[in-house]
Amino acid sequence: MSESSSDLDRLRQALNAQPSSSANAAQQPIRRLARALLAENVETTTHARVLAEMPAMAAAELRGDRLAQLFPDAVAHMDVCESCSLEYAQLLDMLLEMETFVPASAAPPALSPTLQTALRIRDWVMRTAQQLLHRAQITYGDVNGMLDTLLEGLSEMTTMPAPVQAQQWALGYGGEDDETPLVMATWFATQTLATQATAVELQSLADGDALGERARQIAEETARQMKLAKPMRSRFVEDYVRIVLADPQVFVALGRPS
């Protein structure tokens, strides 16, 4: 059975002859079916936009809202785009399964220790990295965005990265600049401290005036492992320790819960 191209062409001409705005309510479903057959609208709304709208569409659909009224462009796109439509159907199937909530055969995994540490230290690292960059008079951009890039590989970040790995990350972010190594060194030094010690242990170091020394050891070790250039290395260590000691209680709270 061959596709009836001349019939489709005539349908297209008829559809284009009358703008949608002048069609009455009774004609709208007919026009939607016609557009679906003609693969109209697939260009006007991009796949990326529809894919980004899918969570809101799925949530609305599960609430019983009318998709065609709330998301007319996305619905028109999915009438002709099989891949987006299948993606959306699979998302809905997953959500429907979750609504019924049948317990799994295995217990769910716990948050990884790396992510738990990251939750505790991220804001402190961001503020500290900005201060370090400012003190080192390095022009810096979006430190938050840089951390996002770094943290997307969080599941693999269980140990300090090898220098070559750090270099790859820096290149991935935008090149071999001074900014990236400093941000990464701040992250890994803090991660090491916050993973090794509990908040109680950090408090006892602070009480015994030993917190600065501990921070210095870790910062030096991190800078060495990451092969920071010499002038930057000593400046990083000194400034890092100074910031830790400027508000030790905030730093103590980054330690592991007991």
């Binding site: 609430r63 009318r66 992510l115 939750l119 599941s155």
Partner: protein
């Protein structure tokens, strides 16, 4: 739509039962509420709003979706907070919610764990892109992509990717019972408001007859009429037919391909859009 006043005790019981069933605990987290505000109050306000906006009666289904919606907002607020403790609770509950579906779609536990832990990290990093009321759907979409990524890199997903080969073989012309047809016809009548002319109603009947002849398959005919003419959502159609939404999708596209080869339907459509 007028609604009966909500009984706070009964509503609280329903909320507690649902939270316990899900293992959700953030409704008791004080840092997520303003002074004097409670989860009960939020759900109550939400149901009252939706009763009016959606013109729906206050029933268990509405209460259920209001609880889920408000809990999504709580999870979103918790993940966006600066408190690692509250963030940790919210992310763990997110994992617990999606874990059975992740495990079902991956060939082994390790792969499922890897996908869900990456998904939860991405959810934390990109929470600013999420609309609060659709948090769980948004997370599920991230998880879906992570599972697909596993599939692409390792090729070992069991059920995450639905292809035609995965779906049960259907009879050529599955029967649809009268009740289901009746609900679609009713919805089509509702959609066709009183402003429609007799000619338009007759034209639609003519088109429906031609579609039936063209498709020769009750299920596909049902899907096309339900989706395009009754404007039902895919989930509603899937529920009415007792199939997965993915099957509705596949049947819809098979039907559209067939209609493209039916000159009578195309001609009738041309006349009706002119």
């Amino acid at each position: 739509m007028p609604t009966e006043p909500l009984d706070d005790v009964a509503l609280e019981q329903k909320i507690q039962a649902e939270l316990a069933r899900r293992g959700w605990s953030l409704a008791a987290e004080p840092s997520l509420f303003a002074a004097g505000e409670t989860f009960l109050l939020r759900v109550r306000q939400r149901t009252e709003l939706w009763c009016v906006e959606k013109e729906r009666p206050l029933d268990d289904a509405l209460i259920h979706i209001a609880i889920t919606h408000e809990y999504c907002r709580l999870l979103h607020a918790a993940v966006s907070q600066n408190s690692s403790r509250v963030q940790g609770v919210a992310l763990q509950e997110t994992i617990n919610y999606a874990w059975p579906a992740a495990l079902k779609r991956c060939s082994d536990q390790r792969t499922a764990e890897s996908a869900i832990l990456r998904a939860v990290t991405n959810a934390w990093l990109h929470i600013a892109k999420c609309k609060p009321g659709s948090y769980l759907a948004w997370f599920t979409r991230i998880l879906q992509r992570e599972i697909q990524q596993e599939y692409r890199t390792q090729g070992r997903i069991q059920g995450g990717e639905t292809t035609e080969a995965d779906l049960p073989i259907e009879q050529d012309n599955d029967e649809i019972d009268d009740d289901r047809w009746e609900s679609v016809r009713e919805q089509m009548t509702t959609e066709a408001d009183s402003a429609h002319t007799v000619e338009q109603i007759l034209s639609r009947e003519r088109l429906v007859t031609l579609l039936k002849k063209c498709l020769s398959n009750a299920k596909r005919e049902f899907i096309i009429l339900a989706e395009f003419f009754a404007e039902l959502n895919p989930v509603e159609i899937a529920r009415m037919l007792g199939v997965k939404v993915s099957q509705v999708h596949l049947n819809k596209f098979r039907a559209l391909k067939r209609i493209k080869h039916c000159p009578d339907v195309l001609e009738e459509l041309r006349l009706q859009v002119s």
